[in-house]
Symmetry: C2
Subunit: 344 residues, 2 copies
């Protein structure tokens, strides 16, 4: 095997005291193959109970832990499911979804790895993920193209699942239709008699992938009606919210879809402090159906999102890993319904 | 090398079309060593520009991606920093801390991997982490003991950093003093003249590691005073909050430290709906200093937590990786100060 200098060169050489399966074999007085059979619990090979015990005893004594990378090199694949870690702090809804998904994949004996990219995008990110040789990759949002999918598959990934607005060639798709969220909110405001409608678009850059289709959904729903749509950029702080509330008053907006509940709570407070009556002067609708929205007075109306269940997604991944040749599946995975409370 | 059957046995055999560095070497007409030198950007070896270009061209043509596991097997270590993924959904404060840490470690060329354990605890979890041969492990909360640290170190981890209430033998420690949060809140309520003080303890089990020391801090601060402490278990839903508000009235509690801002917002609303004037009848203090607490009326008093900066923690990890023999460092890393608003 070729000897490669450590990368980066400044690291000291590794300590060589890490026990290997050869050490275990020597101590137990068996072959390395037997060690592997015993520790990987291979049933195809019959090994006597005393030998098994001797191997386990030796492994314990030496503190030997199998090496997942070596095992995956031999097997040609790992049990690693990779997801890029989100660049923005998680909302409670997505955070819960992620916990569920990790639990469900764990029960199917996959190891979930959230990859913190540190600024890599698109195909460069896909190449970095491929270096870890994951058996499956789940990409939330529009973070990968057909070329990236191909790189991953060439590197041994059996399944790539995207959770974006559109399917990507070669990948399974759970379509997250964020336009539906905007359509839903706009339809509700229109039905409540609102005609001068504002749409909050967060200035935080990581949220654009979601805010753009939500805005498009509003425009779509109100096309060919007598309603107007005004885009309202908002950074998540109180000062900006106060300025935006004043602007809503000047423009005489009578309804606002505020991107999500957190932005809605921020803007609703600013509107109230600016003297607006909610919902008489201005109706406010959020999205995500957070518990906190119910604690406000008036209670916040919202769009309830139905994310795919972690279990369903885990089962899709497992199916795809077992049948890597099957045609990519496409499912629509984001349900959106208005929860009408007191703010609209 | 011993041939090990795939685990689990039900997976179909891996497709063997994954291009290897040998394929790149063949196409470029150079040795595998040269391919490795070029693609790992090794500066210790001089290789001509045309040869470099030929190797890059061949790698591109074949869609070859280096194999991180193979590289780490050769080098004896990886650039992987492993963190167990939290079992409970992240709060916004911790979620932001995690984003910062991932960014900072990414800039130091580490790959951050959040490991979804799926129910493993203590030393069993440490063994599972060790199988991935991380170069460093960061354990938030009290999730590892000295034996687990030893397993990781024997498996090649150069640094283990704990973010718990107490140092662990063999590991670097950023001490998170959650007792200080409780002391701080209790001292504030006492100074505001409150003597019958309730402490909310979330019933959600994943939060116990934080709620227990916070409660202990309250008891500690009020020991040898004329104040009483009542423990108030609370599940995070409106019905439980309504029942607890009635109980606060019956017990004539005049001050509540509500674990964090989310529980405080929930309870404060229930107290208001139950007819309590805040803060005249009951003062309420949360913790975490969330923006949303400022949007309520009255504005929520809170304990502001100062988590360690992601950059400082990343630098501690990097230092420890570079000097694996150095004595473990211990730093106190959680600052706590009261932010007095209108609810107390």
């Amino acid at each position: 095997m070729v000897q490669i200098p450590n990368t980066p060169a400044s690291l000291p050489p590794a300590q060589r005291s890490v026990p290997t399966s050869a050490d275990v074999a020597r101590l137990a007085g068996v072959s390395r193959a037997t060690v592997s059979y015993v520790l990987n619990n291979t049933r195809a090979v019959r090994i006597s109970e005393p030998t098994r015990r001797r191997v386990h005893q030796a492994a314990k004594e030496l503190g030997y832990v199998p090496h997942a990378a070596a095992r995956s090199l031999r097997a040609g694949h790992s049990r690693m499911v990779l997801m890029p870690a989100p660049a923005v702090p998680l909302g409670p809804l997505y955070s819960q979804f992620l916990s569920d998904l990790q639990g469900a994949l764990g029960r199917l004996e996959y190891t979930v790895v959230l990859y913190g990219t540190g600024g890599l995008h698109g195909d460069a990110a896909a190449r970095a993920w491929a270096e870890l040789r994951p058996v499956a990759v789940i990409v939330p949002g529009p973070g990968i193209g057909p070329e990236g999918v191909a790189v991953l598959k060439r590197s041994g990934a059996r399944a790539v699942v995207t959770l974006g607005p559109e399917p990507v060639d070669g990948a399974h798709a759970l379509l997250m239709d964020h336009e539906a969220v905007g359509r839903c909110a706009a339809g509700h405001l229109y039905a409540r008699g609102r005609r001068r409608i504002g749409v909050v678009v967060p200035e935080e850059p990581g949220l654009r992938a979601f805010s753009r289709p939500r805005l498009a959904g509003v425009r779509h729903a109100l096309r060919d009606t007598d309603a107007t749509v005004t885009v309202l950029p908002l950074a998540y702080d109180e000062e900006c919210a106060a300025r935006l509330a004043a602007r809503c008053r000047e423009l005489a907006l009578d309804g606002v879809f505020a991107y999500n509940d957190e932005y809605a709570m921020l803007l609703m407070r600013a509107l109230q402090d600016d003297g607006a009556r909610i919902p008489e002067d201005t109706a406010v609708v959020g999205a995500d159906d957070l518990m906190l929205g119910r604690l406000l007075r008036p209670r916040l109306s919202t769009v309830h999102l139905e994310l795919p269940s972690g279990r369903d997604l885990a089962e899709l991944v497992d199916r795809a890993v077992r049948e890597p040749g099957a045609a990519p599946e496409t499912h629509t995975a984001l349900g959106a319904t208005v929860v009408h409370r007191d703010s609209s």
